[in-house]
Subunit: 481 residues, 2 copies
């Protein structure tokens, strides 16, 4: 039976006491700059940024290279001592907060090992911050398309370990699809060198795919070879008003066909979310006359500027003719593109201004998304009087942020107290639609019990693999499995 974990701070665990000999060996391997037990330095590393989890660690390890990571893991493996690996510490589900384990940060491993322009690839170390990698690619006239809110702090090792999503999945895929090769330290301290820049390599099980999204439970990613793409020459963005979510899904299909796959983002939001943004976020305005039940931000990216605007206009024209969209505005310049996107990107901010919400990062097959949203909204509002559903998101990927707040301001705490049964209701519906209870945020500590209850066969197979590769269970225990 599914168990919904509520979103409340857990009690602070104690840092595990390490054998003195292990501590001494770790310090010796890393040198004076390579570790810390200073409470002030540790503080930002042992809590998650949203303040949901407060952890503890006996020592923070800061290896400078792969060999040092391997040496640390080998020592911990021999001693049977558990490790939590950490990148930019931007997890939304507690995947990188140590609960007494040794904490190992990759932040000193920021080397760029190679940019191979002719191979459209770059090989970088785990501690590189995403925003820097986007810039590095642009400096070589290439695009690294991974893009998400925390890109100023998230590090590539963590992004790969959690198979991060973001706003360009529709065109470029999840992080999983952007990785050509990996280097990792396995749970016994062995260095696995899978840093290939190959597009084709059919030599057995794809071990990198196993490490991607494993949330650090099968090893520590130390470096990666990433795919680069041509930079789009032109972006076109429209803000559309529609009568229904069904129409949005139909229009998505039409826009993809008419543009030949140029749609790079397709974001849906209800009128109520727009109202919230207009009320709470300064400087925003509705680009359309009149009110519509739903809105879509539709972004297309083109390899050539020539014909780009015409393509978007063609898609919109056909959308009007088919009765799928009621009104639309096209961004005339970068500033308007920014304004349109801002209406979508500030929903979370407007929501916070409204009050606390019970949040669900779920996915549904795109075709079934409208029916899911309608049924889930009806069910939640019936079972929880006073509930206000704010459902919006990456409809192009079938990923909706199904958030539920108290309709009345000031009723937050009573409302949030119902989080567990409310989430169970939502997740049960997600299951019945063949969806996923975690589209892009992962499992971490937050959804571990849900996963075990809802996917027993999967979890049994995962446990068998985990036990085979990490028999002592030292890699990020308590996370995922």
């Amino acid at each position: 039976m599914p168990v919904t974990e509520t979103v409340t701070a857990t009690q602070t665990p104690a840092a595990r006491a390490l054998p003195d000999s292990l501590t001494a060996q770790l310090k010796q391997v890393l040198g004076p700059k390579g570790w810390s037990q200073d409470a002030h330095e540790l503080a930002p590393h042992i809590a998650d940024w949203r303040g949901r989890y407060q952890g503890a660690t006996p020592i923070l390890l800061k290896p400078a290279n792969t060999e040092e990571v391997a040496a640390c893991v080998r020592l911990c493996h021999e001693a049977g001592v558990a490790i939590t690996p950490q990148g930019g510490n931007t997890s939304l589900c507690g995947a990188a907060t140590p609960m007494g384990e040794v904490l190992l940060t990759l932040k000193r491993m920021t080397g760029v090992r190679e940019v191979d322009v002719d191979n459209d690839s770059m090989t970088v170390e785990a501690g590189c911050v995403l925003e820097n990698l986007q810039t590095l690619a642009a400096d070589h006239n290439r695009l690294f398309p991974l893009s998400l809110g925390s890109q100023g702090s998230a590090m590539i090792g963590g992004l790969i370990s959690t198979n991060a999503g973001g706003v360009h999945v529709l065109r470029y895929g999840m992080t999983r699809e952007l990785v050509l090769g990996l280097e990792a330290v396995l749970p016994d301290g062995t260095i696995w060198s899978g840093l290939t820049g190959l597009r084709k390599d059919n030599t057995g099980y794809d071990l990198k795919q196993l490490l991607i999204g494993a949330e650090g439970t099968l090893g520590i990613i130390t470096a990666a070879t990433l795919k680069l793409f041509p930079r789009p020459a032109r972006m076109e963005v429209a803000f559309c008003g529609l009568a229904s979510a069904e129409d949005a899904v139909k229009f998505l299909g039409l826009a993809k066909q008419v543009s030949g796959g140029a749609v790079t983002a397709f974001e849906l939001m209800p009128r109520m979310a727009l109202d919230m943004v207009l009320e709470h976020v300064p400087g925003t305005r509705d680009p359309l006359e009149g009110e519509h039940a739903w809105y879509v931000v539709c972004e297309m990216s083109f390899g050539r500027a020539n014909g780009a605007r015409e393509t978007l206009e063609d898609a919109l024209g056909q959308g009007f003719e088919a009765g799928l969209i009621a009104d639309a505005a096209i961004a005339e310049n970068d500033s308007q593109i920014h304004d349109f996107w801002r209406l979508r990107e500030t929903i979370a901010e407007a929501e916070r201004a409204h009050g606390k919400a019970v949040k669900h990062d779920v996915s549904i097959p795109v075709s079934k998304m409208p029916a899911f949203m309608a049924q889930a909204t009806t069910a939640v509002e019936a079972a929880f009087p006073g509930a206000l559903v704010i459902a919006f998101g990456h409809v192009g990927d079938g990923n909706v942020h199904f958030n539920v707040a108290a309709r009345e301001t000031g009723a937050d705490d009573d409302f949030i107290a119902q989080a567990a049964p409310l989430s169970r209701l939502v997740y049960d519906l997600v299951d019945s639609f063949g969806g996923s209870i975690s589209a892009e945020h992962g499992i971490g500590i937050l959804k571990r019990a849900e996963l075990a209850a809802r996917k027993p066969v999967d979890v049994a197979v995962m446990r068998a693999i985990k036990t085979a590769l990490d028999p002592k269970g030292i890699m990020n225990p308590r996370v995922l499995l």
Copy 2:
């Protein structure tokens, strides 16, 4: 130390005797249409199509649905009897030839469970033939881009189990990237239901990625949910003459940039391969005046017809200006597109007319491909007097078919006798360039010893996973590991 397996027929193994009770139970589960022990019916299933491997089986199982597959596997698992799964039997490395094991064909499982146009996905059973799936997608105004020589017989279950490649990897990726969800029977007979149509699902290890490319050693794929794409509105193809392979790689980068990623195929061939084709394949002609050292077939696909030709012309114009291409012809219609492609696609046929060859399906980072081809050619010609290197292939993916024949016709058998040391020389160079000894054909029986010798850490991890999921070792033994 690497051990090169030579490409010669192995001795025929004996069919393993099954316990009578197991045979009776299998027959009862499947009914009279669901099995065969008739030598005539078995014959095409127990040899591979190239005649390299002659196998044997005590019984051919022909389950009609997933439940029957599961029942068969469960019975074999209990009895500790091994199974070889088989799709269209088009493996190039012996991955589907039973060497005494029970043989299980998926050919009766040809159901289409769902085409979800709005979700750009279709769910089909393992026995569906690729060409039929291409047609099914086209009937719904969509593209299923997987495309390769054996598409008239290869079945989707086998294509997924071997992570097939083909001519459109450059744009759409390997089979691995075309699969959204899988259903499979695990080695103990458990049905794993992972048939999701989701683009985003971050709920732990991606088990489908583990089964893809596992060559049937971790379970039997029974159905899959596949990605669909918009159909390109226009294809443009150029046949280019170039002075060097370096220029080809530089021009590839330029063409990708200028077209904004519209290049869907980029195939390289040396003058000598073109000469062979012109000599041996009736009805072929050189589209260019004068001779060039290298040729490229460059295909671009466009979502919109408008501006397509102009884009190709622009890329070629810039290629001329930069001194990368010496001459080029643009296909004016479908018939010319067909003619250009035929020059590339009949190389294997022309090669056969010339004589036997020692073949290597290898990959190298695109940027290092020219250096690899030059060094490998020099090394092979120096070590094996009379050797003629015919290197061509999917340069856009870094995949080259590095084939070596006797320069003189009639010297075949003496030359082929040197296959083992010749392949070792080639594979050692591939390793030194960070390449792969199997780009798209897989490991099977053919390259198992090579893999074990060259990637010991990888193979140790694979074995640990195999043992965890298939402790009795009944799934396609002797293949891959």
